[in-house]
């Protein structure tokens, strides 16, 4: 068993059920033990982040297309409220075009992933933000 550097949860902000399942499965296949918190949209995510009772996530996986408050709006609100300070954010986009839009935003975005979530890509991005090591591993 690998030494865990942290057992913090991951926050997934995503409205599509199948996409949520995909991330869960990817994490399971990568033998990552961290808990996955799921918020259905930006509002829910902000609520979770604002709550002092709940642990701060080690990572935020953010979908862009959501009802009520979409990814972009969440990013702006989070920065304003400073609730996501220090937490790396990986943006899940459905097309490469969105990436260009985000290049212009200095919003603490640590990485991009194009849906569908490809397991290899998932790992690559995690490694790139050096967080893989903070993800705890499941017992075999």
């Amino acid at each position: 068993m690998r030494v865990m550097r942290g057992n913090k949860p991951l926050l997934l902000v995503e409205d599509d059920e199948v996409d949520v399942l995909t991330v869960r499965r990817a994490l399971r296949d990568l033998r990552v033990a961290n808990e996955l918190m799921v918020a259905g949209d930006g509002e829910e995510a902000l609520t979770i982040l604002r709550d002092p009772e709940r642990p701060r996530p080690a990572l935020i996986l953010l979908d862009l297309n959501m009802p009520r408050m979409n990814g972009l709006e969440f990013l702006r609100a989070a920065r304003e409220e400073e609730v996501a300070r220090g937490i790396p954010i990986v943006v899940l986009t459905t097309s490469r075009q969105d990436q260009d839009i985000f290049e212009g935003f200095d919003l603490n975005v640590a990485g991009y992933m194009v849906k569908p979530v490809d397991y290899r890509k998932f790992v690559e991005v995690m490694q790139a933000i050096d967080l893989y090591w903070t993800l705890s591993e499941l017992p075999r």
Partner: protein, 476 residues
Amino acid sequence: MRILTNLSIRNKLIGIILVSTVLSLAAGFAYVITTSIQRFHDDLITTTETVTEAVGNYTALPLAFENPEEAHTSLQPLRALEMVTDVYLFDLKNELFDYYSKGESIEVPEVEQEEFSEIRDGYVHCFRPVVFEGDRYGTIYVRASAASLDQQIQQYLFSMGGLGLVLVLFAGATAYGLQGFISSPILELAETARQISSEEADYSVRVRKPGNDEIGELYDGFNEMLSQIQRRQEELERSNRDLDQFAYVASHDLKAPLRAIATLAGWIEEDLEPVITPESREQLQLMQSRVARMDGLIDGILQYSRVGRLESEGEEVDADEMIRELIEVLSPPAGMKVTVGPGMPVFITKRLRLEQVFLNLISNAIKYHDHVETGSIEVGVEEKPRELQFYVKDDGPGIDPRHHDRVFLMFQTLAPRDKVESTGLGLSLVTKLVEEEGGKVWVESEVGQGATFYFTWPKEPKQEPHSYVGLDSENG
């Protein structure tokens, strides 16, 4: 006659004015010259008559007193006139009384009792009675040279000719200068029309009205047409953009749930691995294959709707090279021979479209072949007078003539879909592409005899107004 109608407007106008002028001048001059010459004629006669009669009357007394010497002296004034060549004096009995002759002829003319004058053979002949106080004493005849008349007429004609020429030139110059009022606006309009019909069509130009006449109306009409064209062009572009966007979004949104279905089916299969029955496994796999089919259909439809709007310019294409590249991309199975015939052109054409056509035809030839390890496909070209005729020939199973028309329709496949995975769109795409270039596509085939697909393609890209370049999808 054709030459005349093909003259420029400017030249026609100048021509018309000149013809009118020349005809009018000709008529006028003809009249004036004729009457003037007549007058010269009459003047000469009148003058001769007057002089003859005046001098003649002086010989009355010498005649009366039968004095030839006196008569001779009286005729002196006439003899002094240079133009007078002969003077004959006759008495009442018409016998020659006295005469004077400057030259050659001494022929005695017939005496005319009446007063008589005429110009004949270049001479004026004049008979006058000799009269004194109402009594007649004889007849005098004078013959004078009409050379002066000839000279006068000649000079007159010369100067009239000169004047006529000057007038015509003047008319020509004026016509040349003034025709611009009519021809300039027309020529300008023609030039603008020519520009607009050319490659770089700029529909935003407008022509400035020269005036409020019929040409002005023509200009108004022209500008109105341009506005309409421009408007339609904008509508067309907007409509194209909307269509592109719609197609892109639709395909995107249609594909998302498909992906989910396929993923979930995969997960079920994975998760149930230890306990799954063969039937269930097969069912899940069928589910995934149907999803893949639908994905292909969506791509096919998207492609079909977008084709033709991506490319409107021609570029130089080496057909041989292009086809060989395509064959490589398609990577036919080992054993299958794909050959490219000679005579492949290097020409300016719309590359992407031609590629699409070949891609579909060659891919079909490979896909539907029934003995790929030993099959052969031949791609060739035949140059026709006004177009190129390409063909893709295979020795596959062939197509029943019954189905020759059907295969080109949308969503038509001949092999059962579970045997050969196909969207049924390839040939309809080919048809659309080829027909848009003004060509035709057809097939020659019998069952068991392979199939040859022919299509004609223009040697030069068809001109068309600017098309909108569509959006890129993630699949390119």
